[in-house]
Symmetry: C2
Subunit: 336 residues, 2 copies
Amino acid sequence: MQMQETLRGHTIHFKNAPRIIATGSIAGPKECAGIAGASVDRALDDDMFGESTFEKAECKMLSYAIDSAICNAGLDRERIDVLFSGDLLNQIISASFAARDFAIPFLGVYSACSTMSESIMLAAAMVNAGYVKNAVAATGSHFASAERQYRYPLEQGTTRPPQSQWTVTGAGACVISDRGEGIRIANATMGQVVDYGVTDVNNMGAAMAPACAHTIIRHFRDTDTGPEDYDLILSGDLGALGSRLLKDLCWEKGYDISQNHADCGEIIYDVVEDEFQGGSGAGCSAVIFNSYVMSKLRGKLFKRVLFAATGALLSTVSSGQGESIPCISHAVELRA
Amino acid sequence: MQMQETLRGHTIHFKNAPRIIATGSIAGPKECAGIAGASVDRALDDDMFGESTFEKAECKMLSYAIDSAICNAGLDRERIDVLFSGDLLNQIISASFAARDFAIPFLGVYSACSTMSESIMLAAAMVNAGYVKNAVAATGSHFASAERQYRYPLEQGTTRPPQSQWTVTGAGACVISDRGEGIRIANATMGQVVDYGVTDVNNMGAAMAPACAHTIIRHFRDTDTGPEDYDLILSGDLGALGSRLLKDLCWEKGYDISQNHADCGEIIYDVVEDEFQGGSGAGCSAVIFNSYVMSKLRGKLFKRVLFAATGALLSTVSSGQGESIPCISHAVELRA
């Protein structure tokens, strides 16, 4: 059923059908060995990307993805009215420093690993309202910068527990426009913070699954749809364990998503060593969405996709002070 | 001159005049000794606010400000459609944990000390477009949590240089609505990253002044206005030195803002000891705007105000890696 209102529940309906007219993506060697390898704009053989620090490499990847998306759209930079971006590093320095390379308005967002869908939602909202003509949504992450910020110095060689995930080295961006050919953004469901009390910072999948279930179910109810209406229900970076929890949580509420669910974290790697549950990080859903999934949407192999990236809103300080992990998931609905 | 278009340059014109119908604010004892003391909703005598850590106190203040704003608007929490918030702490934990207290959609933003104006801009954009009826914009900061995150442990008693500013302990929030009596948000100018190469992390005023000048001048040009059209041009937290630089930079471009400019950082404290250049932090403009300035707007002592909060988008990592400080300023125009 088509929604008539602009807002229903937590879901915004975009009447003017803003479109993703182009994407840009880049990923490291480990990531490109997986399903995204064939469809990224650039596959790196060296995850330092010619830079002297991990953080600078992360920033350069993000900048590359943004630039690629703009080029792929056939636009000059001056035609881009606003950039929405954020990342996992403290004070979102990758996004801010990448934005320095582009003399365009920049609105920084933070939603951990759900930054991709929050950025797309806000960019689509700005385009749909007629405020801007072309907006870019972008994010990325880097395994090494995330490890040393959130966990341990790599040099220490700390053992990773089996419930952990591997932060993706990569970035993705898309251009959202009020005209042109592209994938329509039909609806967006704003997430709210959900916290089931998980305190294990190595078990992000378990922490984030309830927030993802909350948003997906909210989306179904707000739009009078069900799992069968979507060719793909794509969660962010729950990993293998988190994906099982998500399916269980949805099933408990009467929605069986098992037939058409995939998780960016679960599918990004051919898990062979210590990726364990799969990929994570803001770059995980950014890379999978802006390369693999968008190529399938463009080829009409998927006609209707619900993309619900997921974010764990913790910091080393909050965990150190004994807090549990508040999580969130924002969803956007795409139509070929 | 009234703008006819929705977007002109970097400035969005809000045709439907979203309104700030209520505000909430809270500040620490040092802050309440200054001009904001008389108009905050709650003046703390203890900046720990009954909590065991600085970060928890910061989060509780933010939560208090949001709750106050909603109560002052006479609304139930269920009537709030979305919360825009962010803060200075790594991974914006104050905002995320405050959002956990409210079962409403949450969109995290990060723009350092310009978070207040970015949040207001996005909330107004959502309300003006008809996506939501009531939105909250909020941010805050805490002197002690900022010092230990960005600078040194307080216990170390490190001497502060004379160009430094004092991070404000306080939080502010406002409810933006599509109906009711209130202060109209007429226009919003999106800032872009400006970096003049300043590397002194103690001299935020000098780093941020060019970004602020860029946005203010952009606003004047986009709206065909000049300094004389505003009762108050309120910059974020440039402090005394940064404010002088801002006035010089605007003057060089042909705009003399000296007659009606004030800076939240410069006016918040009666500088008596080591606040030096004045206040800073996301809470600085949040407190001044949501208490003192809004009370003057409500009393029609100011009829037209340009509020350009300013943010320094650095992190300890970026500075440690020798980067200069990219800065940004977003502006919103308010009419009584």
